[in-house]
């Protein structure tokens, strides 16, 4: 079946079976391995991408269900000049990254969240990332990465 997706601004047309997940298409067909597969059941959040601006678990989503959608993955977060987004930059500066396997999912969840709520409280940040598991950091430095961004510095 023909599948049309715009991924990080690039249009793609593929022949995809009805059973293929969005995650499978991104990783195995388009070679965008930045989006991670942690659990395949929507628990860990490592596969989070933006579908028409909303953060979703791409492992649970059949690709054909989002036919025609605009997808943004972690590879699409840099700006047009290749500079890191303020959130990406903050994760590096504030220690939000350890092993980094959960990082793309956190970045996508938080990118969508900050669009909706540009000045969240700490509690709001913690609630926003309650669907993303990080086994390394204990979350404090991830929360501070967000606070670093909303504090206006990059």
């Amino acid at each position: 079946m023909e599948l049309h997706l715009t991924v990080n601004g690039d249009p793609h047309t593929l022949d995809a079976s009805p059973a293929e997940t969005l995650l499978g298409v991104l990783r195995d067909r388009l070679g965008l391995t930045g989006t991670k597969e942690g659990c395949s059941e929507g628990e860990c959040g490592a596969c989070t991408v933006l579908v028409d601006g909303a953060a979703v678990d791409s492992c649970l989503l059949l690709a054909h269900a989002v036919n025609g959608a605009e997808i943004v993955t972690v590879e699409g977060l840099r700006d047009g000049d290749g500079a890191l987004s303020s959130l990406q930059s903050a994760f590096v500066k504030a220690g939000g990254v350890q092993c980094g396997f959960c990082t793309p999912g956190f970045l996508m969840t938080l990118t969508a969240f900050l669009e909706e709520n540009p000045a969240p409280s700490e509690d709001e940040i913690r609630t926003a990332i309650a669907g993303n598991i990080c086994r390394c950091t204990g979350y404090s430095q991830i929360v501070e990465s967000v606070q670093f961004v909303i504090g206006g510095t990059k």
Binding site: L32, G38, V92, Q98, G138
Partner: protein
């Protein structure tokens, strides 16, 4: 330039990780590779009668089905050579590999694995420690005597006991102390398995070429993978090359080979590149979880609060095969006397085979539940004596110069008292929450830990690149902790007078780098960092020799600073390292320096115990944790409202990185204390997906207050001791003590679930009602 060591420098792999460019083990692949999937035993115990692959082989795209009939008969193992590549006649745990399907696609491999018919005649399941130790228990390994120890020297083991450690050097004194004691306190504690739950499932990609296996994997200990593959396949270790990739978390679970031997074997059989990835359920079912255990403690006390004698009996679940566990069976000997003087000690550790998945290392290993048991027991001793819990601890605290149970002298143990003092400054014990408020029961707990830095060997080759950067060749692994991306990188940068971004570290490669003991026991920054300094000294000397000619100076008058070689005490700039590197290429040849290091074993008493495979605790660090909790008496819900850590680190090479290790380690400890629990029924794991295995999430976890103590350790690079492992260790102890304090009832079993807390509260109230009645 400003110093690099001690600065919160950005980790050098940070940009690759936030952009999605970092290639992890599961991301690695090459065109034309085949995909493999293991067929695993669905039962915990049985006799394998038949593997019928006829349906599976008809599935389009299936290339081969491999079983024990195809495999070498060599047994492999870290300590004991127990395990075959595939179960041959008997299956001993749910998840044990029985066959391997190799196919063109992942989907074909999955379909074929499902289509394979196994005929397994069920056998009785020896599902837990007590069943395995029963007199009439079936033997998990009827041939246990034939298994060869890898080191050549065997250790005490028998029947279903895979290792036994006993420290009992003064039995008469021990009995006398108990006979004379004013009070005797006895307790029993238990802990479940804990799943490491790293986010990257295990994987491997292998190629076979000209008699050589090349295996790509994201692994904490590439040389261990090399050795295990060599054992299974009956080849010499240098016939195997292991290449590392970014690791999506390991926490000890990626220290032994898992899928790598299967990928290597299939690559040889099919002469094709083969990739294999675990799904989350098989990862959980076969991951070497932290072992479940039972700990019994008995202490003889004087009336005024001295510990006259103490006994610790620890029963550990080995699972069906041993991995590194026989090494860890001696841990109770170390834990018993490392924080508190124990009078006459007696320790028995038993590692017991069961029909369950093999257990193994998880950050802090058995120390988590051993310290939980010791510290809960300390609270109980103080309560029985009518002495304040903190005062009782300080009274019995070990001091600098004390010899512990293994005879090792802890030269700097006074740091423990200092850590108690530093906690007191910000969380005074006299002001701890004692009363209920807002309908919640409040309590506080304290726990102390002495821990080691793993001494395993490591090496570094440094090379001056022609652009002036410093290349680092090491098999030390970056498991996410920052030990390479911050620690070793900053140590090299400091020594070479360059910036972190001018240090270029090779991914681990067992053919390129010298042996490395893996990222375990906080050893990488300490051991590999020290090796890097030794290498830097040699490289620096060679740089000075070349630069001396260019600067018309003596090598002994030169120094490295700001990416240049300059004359000491002279302000004007020197010559760039790039010039020295380029010059050397055309004169003396490229400049390199080599360094190797393994922590020398401290003196100990070899007669302190039998069966102690890991007799010393080198490069100790000291820790005191303090927790405050609120317990909802209606729901049993526990909130950890304040958490304070005082930790001796020697020297924080990167304070932000050290903080990340402490916050992250405490979080894993809180998960262990409050939620995480692999429950086993008849050898079968009940938690089989992340959906049912509750992990700590952002709203659950307080921001940890951290006090760093920095007493430089003479052998450490810039004084650094191991940092990353210990923060997980005291957490269940401190939180357990705080909950017991809050509810006024004993807490004996990890995790402290709401149901357990409510039951303890209920029992305590019934008990006090009963006690009040005549």
């Amino acid at each position: 330039m400003s110093a690099v060591v001690g600065e919160p420098a950005e980790r050098t792999d940070g940009i690759a990780k936030v952009t999605g460019e970092a290639i992890y083990g599961v991301d690695y692949g090459e065109t034309g590779m085949l995909h493999a999937r293991l067929v695993r035993s669905p039962v915990a115990s049985g006799t394998l009668r038949e593997i019928d692959a006829s349906d599976a082989e008809q599935i389009p795209g299936v290339r081969r089905v491999l079983t024990a009939a195809d495999a070498p008969t060599d047994r492999a193992g870290w300590v004991l050579r127990e395990q075959l590549l595939f179960a041959a006649d008997r299956v001993r745990y749910e998840g044990e590999p029985v066959a391997l399907v190799v196919a063109d696609t992942v989907e074909a491999a999955q379909a074929a694995a499902r289509a394979i018919q196994l005929k397994i005649e069920p056998a009785p399941v020896v599902g837990d420690i007590e069943a395995a130790l029963a007199d009439d228990a079936p033997l998990i390994h009827p041939d246990w005597q034939s298994y060869e120890p890898v080191s050549g020297a065997d250790h005490p083991r028998y029947g279903n006991v895979a290792a036994e450690v006993v420290a009992d050097t003064d039995p008469e004194g021990f009995e006398r102390a108990f006979a004379q004691a004013a009070k005797i306190v006895e307790d029993e504690f238990s802990a479940p398995r804990q799943y490491q739950a790293y986010l990257e499932p295990k994987s491997a990609v292998a190629r076979f070429e000209g008699g050589k296996y090349t295996v790509h994997t994201a692994h904490q200990y590439p040389f261990n993978v090399r050795d295990r593959i060599a054992q299974y396949l009956g080849v010499r270790p240098s016939a195997v090359r292991v290449v590392g990739h970014h690791i999506g978390g390991g926490f000890g679970a990626k220290l032994d080979a898992a899928l790598e031997p299967y990928a290597a074997f299939a690559a040889e059989k099919l002469r094709r590149l083969v990739k294999i990835v675990n799904d989350r359920t098989e990862d959980m079912l076969t991951c070497p979880c932290r072992e479940n255990a039972i700990v019994r403690l008995r202490t003889a006390l004087s009336a005024d609060g001295d510990i006259l004698a103490r006994e610790l009996v620890c029963l550990m679940d080995n699972g069906a095969y041993s991995g590194e566990m026989p090494w860890l069976a001696g841990l109770p000997v170390h834990v018993l006397g490392q924080v508190y003087r124990t009078g006459v000690p007696r320790v028995v550790g038993k590692l017991v085979y069961t029909n369950t998945a093999p257990t193994g290392a998880f950050r802090g290993v058995g120390g988590t539940y051993l310290y939980f048991a010791v510290e809960r027991h300390m609270d109980n001793c103080a309560r029985r004596l009518g002495i304040d819990r903190r005062a009782f601890r300080l009274r019995n605290l070990i001091r600098s110069g004390d010899a512990v149970v293994n005879g090792q002298v802890l030269e700097d143990a006074d740091i423990l008292a200092e850590a108690f003092d530093r906690i007191e400054e910000i969380a005074p014990w006299g002001e701890r929450p004692t009363s209920s408020s807002n309908g919640k029961l409040r309590g506080a707990g304290v726990a102390a830990v002495t821990w080691m830095t793993n001494p395993g060997a490591g090496s570094v080759v440094l090379k001056l690149n022609e652009d002036g950067t410093t290349g680092v060749v090491t098999a030390g692994t970056e498991n996410g902790s920052g030990a390479i991306a911050m620690g070793v990188t900053q140590i090299v940068a400091e020594a070479m007078g360059v910036r972190s971004e001018d240090v270029v570290v090779l991914m681990p490669d067992t053919d390129a780098a010298g042996y490395d003991g893996g990222s375990q026991g906080s050893r990488t920054t300490h051991v590999v960092g020290r090796a890097a300094l030794i290498a830097a000294e040699e490289l620096t000397q060679k740089i000075f020799d070349v630069a001396a000619d260019l600067l018309e100076s003596s090598p002994s008058d030169l120094e490295l600073r700001d990416g240049e070689v300059a004359v000491k005490g002279v302000r004007q700039s020197g010559i760039p390292l790039a010039t020295v590197g380029a010059t050397a290429t055309f004169t003396v040849g490229p400049l390199t320096g080599t360094g190797s290091y393994a922590t020398p074993a401290p003196a100990f008493n070899p007669g302190c115990a039998t069966g102690l495979l890991f007799p010393v605790f080198p490069t100790p660090s000291y820790h005191v944790h303090y927790a405050e909790v609120e317990v909802d008496p209606d729901t049993g819900q526990v909130d950890v409202v304040r958490y304070v850590v005082a930790q001796e680190v020697g020297k924080a090479i990167n304070p932000a990185g050290v903080r990340g290790q402490i916050q992250g380690g405490v979080t894993q400890g809180l998960g262990y204390a409050l939620y995480e629990n692999v429950q086993i029924v008849d050898g079968r794991y009940q938690e089989r997906r992340l959906e049912t295995y509750r992990l700590p999430l952002a709203p659950d976890i307080p921001d940890v207050e951290i006090i760093l103590l920095e007493h430089p350790e003479a052998a450490g690079p810039y004084g650094a001791r191991g940092v990353a492992e210990p923060p997980v260790l005291p957490v269940a102890a401190a939180v357990g003590n705080a909950i017991a304090d809050a509810i006024g009832a004993p807490i004996t079993r990890i995790p402290f679930t709401p149901a357990d807390v409510l039951t303890a509260l209920h029992d305590a109230r019934e008990g006090s009602v009963a006690a009040a009645q005549p």
